[in-house]
């Protein structure tokens, strides 16, 4: 029964979603919403599982003095601080006049969100620029014919997307302007390649979904 019940749920939900795509009539459209809501409710409860798992593993590392004691301490302290301010501002806001939310401007929670969390997130995102540079450097090395074509296409697209490209070739006829070449590369070979990959992905998705719905693919339940 440990396998059969999840498989039965997968089968029913899978087919309901499939039918709902083609049948707009009630109750199919409502079933779809109901199942989506159910997933959100289960996921919301599961967040506690994740949070408790994180804290448990971090506390074990701290108390058993394993590696990463410093990082684990940071995790626990950050977790407690943000939870404290969330509850503190939330309760304070409930009894204030006018009532405010823990996320409103001026709360400790909002301050942590704006000046700690957002800044750290933005920093991580900004790192992407450097990683793109290092990855491009490796990918664009002209080691063979394919890499050389990639290098040339990359240079044309990059130059075609910035004003200096137009400045260099703006005086030439349209057919020789670098921005037009960049547009051609992006619209024709690039789109064709992307579409080919996307058709393959769509077929793979259908095939995998069918295997899961029919219960042929059961590995996600643990084991084969």
């Amino acid at each position: 029964m440990r396998r059969e019940i999840p498989m039965a749920i997968t089968f029913i939900v899978g087919f309901v979603f499939l039918f709902a795509y083609f049948i707009p009539h009630p109750p199919f459209n409502e079933f779809e919403n109901t199942f989506n809501d159910s997933f959100s409710i289960i996921a919301a409860f599961a967040i506690w599982l994740g949070a408790l798992n994180l804290i448990k593993i971090s506390l074990v590392k701290i108390f058993k003095k394993k590696s990463d004691v410093l990082h684990s301490s940071f995790i626990v302290i950050s977790f407690l601080v943000i939870v404290f301010f969330g509850f503190y501002d939330g309760i304070r806001g409930l009894y204030a006049d006018p009532v405010f939310s823990f996320r409103d401007q001026g709360t400790g929670f909002n301050w942590l969100y704006e000046y700690v969390y957002s800044s750290l997130s933005a920093t991580m995102f900004a790192l992407l620029a450097f990683f793109v540079a290092s990855a491009s450097y490796r990918a664009f090395r002209a080691r063979n014919l394919e890499a050389t074509i990639l290098l040339i296409a990359g240079i044309l697209v990059m130059l075609g997307r910035v004003p200096i490209g137009d400045l260099m070739t703006g005086w030439l006829p349209d057919a020789f302007q670098i921005s037009n070449w960049a547009n051609w590369i992006m619209n024709i070979p690039n789109t064709a390649g992307q579409r080919a990959i996307m058709i393959g992905i769509a077929l793979g998705l259908v095939s995998t979904s069918l295997r899961i719905i029919l219960g042929l693919e059961r590995a996600y339940l643990g084991g084969d």
Binding site: P24, A43, N53, L120, L128, A135, G204
Partner: protein, 416 residues
């Protein structure tokens, strides 16, 4: 010597200037208010001949292929509907009786010849009128308004359909594809053998795990940042089962840091089961699968930190990735780990190709579980998928030829 401002020589003069200024501003205010009122009064009465001509050919129809509750009203624009014309907007009125009270259900800007009433109740009958409106605003207030409305049209009912005909082409495509997959699954069940081409990335899985074993370092498996409702994550979980099995056989630690609680629960079960399957339940540790954070860049930062500190020999990046893909893959590359990635996110594929040793491109990731398990039924489904692909290629070729000869077949392939 007393200090005096060079603008106002003394206090008395300053006071006089101040009084004069107050008087001036009061008078100016009075004058301005008076003139505004005069202008407003002059606007109160609409000038002659400002009533717009009503729109013509009003029609109402049930929106097809929907769940009901929507009626589309269309009309021909009023001849007065042009820039500087008498029509400012169209208002739509509705009643459930032809001579009943009509209430406004919405409005369309000038130049628009249609409106969708999404507040209709399925099965109820309605009558509609459309009015061309002209009005004058002054300081945000409507000072006059004139309209000419059409005769009521109807009755019209909205109904729910049992099949979305707009998606008939998708339905046919799915039937062909699923039929082909099921046929080959049944053929495989009957003992038919299939040839499956080699996929380098999957072939290398065992070598990659073996490398970690030889180096005495761990394996990291990153299942993407989407939840269990994404097929990519499900496919990733299937691959995780096989990878953790090989790792357990080799007595190599596999770490699975995840960004979703549901994924954590599933991955824990899968890894535990894999260790039991190869007879090594004792080697399994509870903290192998652990939750980090739901936050995209928080997760990327944590993974980067783990890579740098733990220096795993092998990294698997399998699942749905977004902007964090390159941050993780480049960090993995910088520590010299062998990396096998797989995703169905087309925008992230170039990053993985540039930063990883092997990349499973889209469908290859979905094929990985069948490829790794070598189970005939799953291999049969791959064969069915390939036949589906051949049919699609044929359809594309025919479409290209027909379009080249001026036959418009694009509608057959468009999805709404």
């Amino acid at each position: 010597m007393t200090e005096e401002s060079w603008i106002l020589p003394n206090k008395k003069t300053a006071l006089v200037v101040l009084i004069l200024l107050c008087c001036f501003s009061y008078t100016a205010g009075q004058t301005s208010d008076d003139s505004l009122n005069i202008v407003k009064d002059s606007l109160l009465t609409p000038p002659p001949d400002v009533t717009p001509v009503m729109p013509k050919n009003v029609t109402a129809e049930d929106i097809p292929n929907d769940a009901g509750g929507s009626i589309r009203i269309t009309w021909d624009l009023s001849p007065d509907d042009h820039v500087g014309g008498k029509v400012k907007e169209y208002r739509i009125y509705r009643s459930d009786q032809i001579d009943g009270d009509y209430e406004e259900v919405g409005a369309s800007m000038m130049g628009q010849a249609g409106f969708t009433d999404n507040s209709a109740e399925t099965g109820n009958q309605y009558f509609y009128k459309v009015a061309a409106i002209n009005y004058q605003l002054f300081n945000g207030e409507t000072v006059w308004q004139v309209m000419s409305e059409t005769d009521p049209i109807g009755p019209m009912k909205s109904t729910a359909q049992w099949f979305n005909m707009d998606r008939l082409n998708v339905f046919i495509g799915i039937i062909i594809l699923c039929g082909s997959i099921i046929y080959f699954i049944l053929a495989a069940k009957g003992g038919k053998k299939f040839y499956i081409r080699k996929i380098a990335g999957i072939e290398e899985v065992e070598n990659a795990v073996g490398r970690a074993t030889e180096m005495g370092r761990s394996i990291y498996y990153i299942p993407g940042i989407n939840d269990m409702d994404d097929v990519q994550t499900l496919a990733s979980m299937t691959i995780l089962g096989k990878v953790s099995e090989i790792a357990a056989q080799n007595d190599t630690r596999i770490d699975v840091p995840v960004s979703r609680s549901m994924v954590m629960v599933t991955a824990k079960e899968i890894v535990k089961e894999s260790y039991s399957k190869v007879g090594r339940p004792d080697a399994h540790q509870e903290d192998q699968v652990r939750y980090l954070t739901d936050d995209q860049f928080g997760y990327a930062a944590a993974i980067d930190g783990l890579f740098i500190r733990e220096k795993p020999a092998t990294i698997f990046l399998m699942g749905a990735f977004f902007a964090e893909s390159l941050i993780m893959a480049e960090t993995g590359n910088s520590i010299g780990a062998i990396q096998i990635a797989g995703t169905a996110m087309p925008a992230q594929l170039p990053f993985f190709v540039a930063a990883c040793d092997f990349t499973l491109i889209g469908e290859e990731m979905f094929a990985a579980s069948a490829y790794l398990s070598r189970e005939p039924k799953l291999l049969g489904s791959l064969k069915g998928q390939d036949v589906g692909k051949a049919i699609f290629i044929l359809a594309i070729l025919i479409g290209v030829i027909l379009e080249s000869f001026g036959v418009d077949v694009s509608r057959l392939f468009s999805v709404r």
